[in-house]
Subunit: 313 residues, 2 copies
């Protein structure tokens, strides 16, 4: 089961971090051979041009993977950044995930797919099966359609050992607009929608628990909502968390430490812009060393926060 592989890769690297390859053309450093500087996605004229841009982006992604594979256990790629480059972008997305897998990193396709059952089955075939054309170890999923829209994903997880992370409490400023609404669900005086969704996530994953006590069905829980993270950690002891929002979105290690369990496990924290653009903050063209420095710095921050809270490291 990939959830076990993810947990073991985190132990091996001592680092519960995902490299968020939300790569954009604006993030590419001038030092990248052959890349015309000052490009933005709006300047991409046609598919041939998009292919040229994508080959620079592929070089960037691979260089980051090479630089971090020994200290960062997994990669999360945000598909929107690739879809905006059209068909060549989707090929780049696929090739990036393949390259990360070749380098023994766990892959998360951040696609937030969702649909009625028969259509979710098509998404599961696209991403979660052994020979899927856009294969990843995990994908992210939006729960709004309920159980029958989830069933094909759960089947794929059961059959192939792959996994999903279901949006529960997201990291964006408006997350609470619907997710924090108090719902009357027959359990006393009501509770926030995200808790209700979280409970369902635990049910969906009930039969898919791996050898480390965590299920193939995980939850997305934003680093930007510390209180909700702590509550969900207590409520969902068998659910692994994918935690976005660290760094550029404003959350610190202190904010998200409640997402980890008493053994310092149970979560993986995504960092995208803070790693991809570390070279900008450091005023250097050497994006590889800058990303590695930043990844090591983030690992220390996370370890210190976990040790401080749980007494483990």
């Amino acid at each position: 089961m990939r959830i076990d592989c993810l947990i073991e890769a985190i132990e091996r690297t001592g680092n519960p971090t995902a490299l968020g390859l939300d790569t954009r053309v604006e993030f590419l450093p001038p030092s990248l051979a052959g890349f015309p500087t000052g490009r933005s996605v709006g300047s991409v004229r046609d598919e041939g041009d998009a292919e040229a841009v994508c080959s620079s982006m592929y070089a960037f992604n691979c260089a980051l993977i090479d630089a971090l594979a020994d200290i960062v256990p997994c990669v999360k790629a945000q598909v929107a950044c690739y879809e905006m480059l059209g068909v060549p972008g989707v090929r780049l997305f696929r090739d990036t995930l393949l390259y990360a897998r070749q380098k023994c990193m766990i892959t998360i396709a951040d696609v937030k797919r969702n649909d009625i059952g028969i259509t979710s089955g098509a998404y599961a075939a696209a991403y979660l099966e052994e020979n899927s054309p856009l294969s990843a170890d995990f994908i992210t999923v939006n729960p709004y359609l309920g159980t029958d829209g989830m069933a094909p994903f759960l089947d794929a997880c059961g059959k192939n050992g792959s996994g999903i992370f279901v949006l529960v409490r997201t990291s964006n400023p408006s997350a609470g607009e619907f997710q924090d609404l108090i719902v009357q669900d027959g359990e006393g005086k009501g509770r926030p929608l995200y808790e209700h969704v979280g409970q369902k996530v635990a049910e969906w994953g009930g039969n898919l628990t791996g050898r480390h006590g965590y299920s193939s069905v995980g939850a997305v829980v934003g680093a930007t909502c510390p209180e909700e993270g702590k509550k969900l950690r207590a409520l969902l002891p068998g659910t692994f968390f994918l935690v976005p929002g660290y760094g550029a979105q404003g959350a610190t290690a202190q904010d998200l430490v409640g997402c980890f369990d008493g053994q310092g496990r149970g979560a993986v924290v995504n960092a995208s812009r803070s790693l991809l653009c570390a070279y900008k903050k450091r005023n250097t063209d050497d994006f590889i060393s800058a990303a590695r420095d930043e990844a090591l710095h983030m690992r220390e921050e996370l370890r210190a926060a976990i040790k401080n809270r749980h007494g483990v490291s």
Copy 2:
């Protein structure tokens, strides 16, 4: 504004129907030149093979568009069916939407995208701008992340005249699991989540109303929930509905007629398998005539139901 174009195309054809091109390899008729019969998506071996399958699917899609463009105003393509064929599938998705647009059909990319603001901006760039690489007149959107995840889509609608349909009450059996939960939202004794989301959809679209009184921000309302459809129609007079669930999912014209307004406007009804596989039900290889017969039959059913309820046709 594309919402005005959609309404006018429905008037012109007298038919509030979307051709749902949820094309799957199993749907392809043996009569399609060069297509090896008995294929399923599981039998697609590699990308070269996927390309061959996609070229047959493109021929099928184009033949259906050609057959129906004078009597069906728009096409909705479900991206999952294309993503399951990988990169060639995404190219087929793009080419299908382009072909439909060339034939003056309105295009809806059924992608149910959703994310935090900055990432939704990437999706908007992928789909909703004038030169988007995967351009469509409308896309479908999932609301779970709230207003800031919606803002880039609204911006794109305002700038480019494109539109979105936001999931409000879906057509699948488990739709009510979260969508029907009673939420306490400060408006009296509580109301279902889908109504609360519907109200937000109306707010999001408030500044994007076209010349026929409907906004560029529409709602997805399942044909399989007649009571909810009627309530939402009354609650959201300026919101156009995309109505899935007719035909293969079990809903009849009678079930969904409450989604139309008193002038017989305000909704477009999607039909996928009932049109794509009409030839199977009729025991013929002539999928073109079968789809046309079925589309005309569906038009008559919808018109009769609307006339019966609203006294207009």
